[in-house]
Symmetry: C2
Subunit: 220 residues, 2 copies
DNA sequence: TATAAAAGTTAGATATATCTAACAATTTTA
DNA sequence: TAAAATTGTTAGATATATCTAACTTTTATA
């Protein structure tokens, strides 16, 4: 099977393409940045991934996942999100603690284990951060989600996902009293720096653009 | 923390010392054999483990675990056996399938995960093969267990543990209808090759010394 | 369009973990 | 106790995954 490093590159490529909406492909430096590695390291690995036909890549060109590369990337994401769900639902972990552990667990190689874990969790559709869990066939539920930062004053919405796994961010989310499904009301926005006044559970808060860019919502 | 390779060496040293009752220490070749590696590979790793003060070892001398080496070995065994218990009890795996997966899971580094898993499983004392699970303080339950091969004709006993994790062995155990707690009656032994006639659940079988050496029992 | 900046690659080094081949030390045994 | 067998070590190679420094190619911009 694939090494941990290889799986991390595949997952990163998939996520960058999706998150940044980067259709035409990813650059070496961009990928290096995302993975917190140096460009030569990435360049070196790319050659390996190309030989294994997991990526499409020509010297000085953009990188994209091949079909098999994408399929495996989705599988790694499935593993990651199922484990996160297990940690929260069954072991009572706080949602801000599960990502780091799932980074390790996602590399365990046993398709049967993942199938059984999926069943044990009753085939969940979303992980504790609201992200969709690919099913056994690699199919991912997509919805018409928006970023909180896109909403206008007066809008009401429900938090469906957080797009930042860092403990600092999730701690802050917790401190604001926000959870998956929390009702958020946009009171006002500040033109100057796009910060936003929101009301959550009757509590009023001012949050930065950096923050509202990491909150995915569904209009209500 | 420790690498997977390091953890495997520590676990192997602990097991050899225990299983073979090897008190004075383990040799390079013996350890290499056990781990299915070559002696130079082991020699090389030993130097690293010595610098980290996990083993006591002098050139051409016997290898023993240091206190911290032993403590970590026990912790790896705790992780392994808790995961095996999880796989059987919660994910409904057959006991002959869990060892290989636990070989991977035992290297996940998160003490909190293990504590919570232990609680989730209601602090089990024995794994699916009947082996004792070290508690959070590293304490291991020991009992007055014997090998089936040590019993004399007429003896009755209960199977408490199997000492071979291989699929071939466990499949055979299953085929004989043996489970943890099965009642076994020793009918007769053959002097020539120490094979044994046993009765299990009314069924009569003849089993080899190799087999009876891998079955731990408690007299009844 | 020439130059500067950004992006990407190559070369060579390091660390981990493994191997084979050759050699050395220790232990067994005749 | 000398030779043989066993056990253990050293040297040098390979594979993976990473780094820094130097260089090249592509892209942006003056
Ligand atoms: Mn995550
Ligand atoms: Mn990962
Ligand atoms: Mn096992
Ligand atoms: Mn292991």
């Amino acid at each position: 099977m694939y090494t941990q490093a290889e799986e991390n590159y595949l997952k990163a490529l998939f996520s960058i393409t999706l998150e940044v909406g980067n259709e035409e492909g990813v650059g070496t430096n961009e990928l290096a940045d995302y993975l917190k590695l140096t460009p030569p390291t990435v360049n070196n690995m790319l050659k390996k991934l190309k030989t294994k036909e997991l990526v499409n890549y020509e010297k000085y060109g953009k990188i994209t996942l091949s079909d098999s590369g994408r399929a495996h990337a989705v599988y790694v994401i499935r593993k990651h999100r199922l484990w996160e769900t297990f940690l929260c639902k069954k072991l009572d972990f706080n949602w801000n603690a599960v990502h780091e552990i799932a980074e390790q667990l996602e590399h365990i190689d046993s398709p049967e284990l993942i199938d059984r874990l999926d069943k044990f969790l009753d085939y969940p559709s979303f992980d504790p951060h609201g992200d969709p869990i690919p099913d056994a066939k690699g199919k991912i539920k997509t919805g018409s989600r928006k970023l909180l930062s896109e909403l206008k004053p007066g809008a009401q919405c429900r938090l469906v996902a957080v797009k930042d796994d860092s403990t600092a961010f999730l701690d802050y989310v917790n401190r604001l009293g926000l959870k998956i499904n929390s009702l958020i009301e946009v009171v006002d926005t500040v033109d100057y720096d796009h910060s936003m006044h929101i009301v959550v559970d009757g509590g009023s808060h001012t949050v930065s653009k950096k923050f509202t860019d990491s909150i995915q919502v569904l209009a209500v």
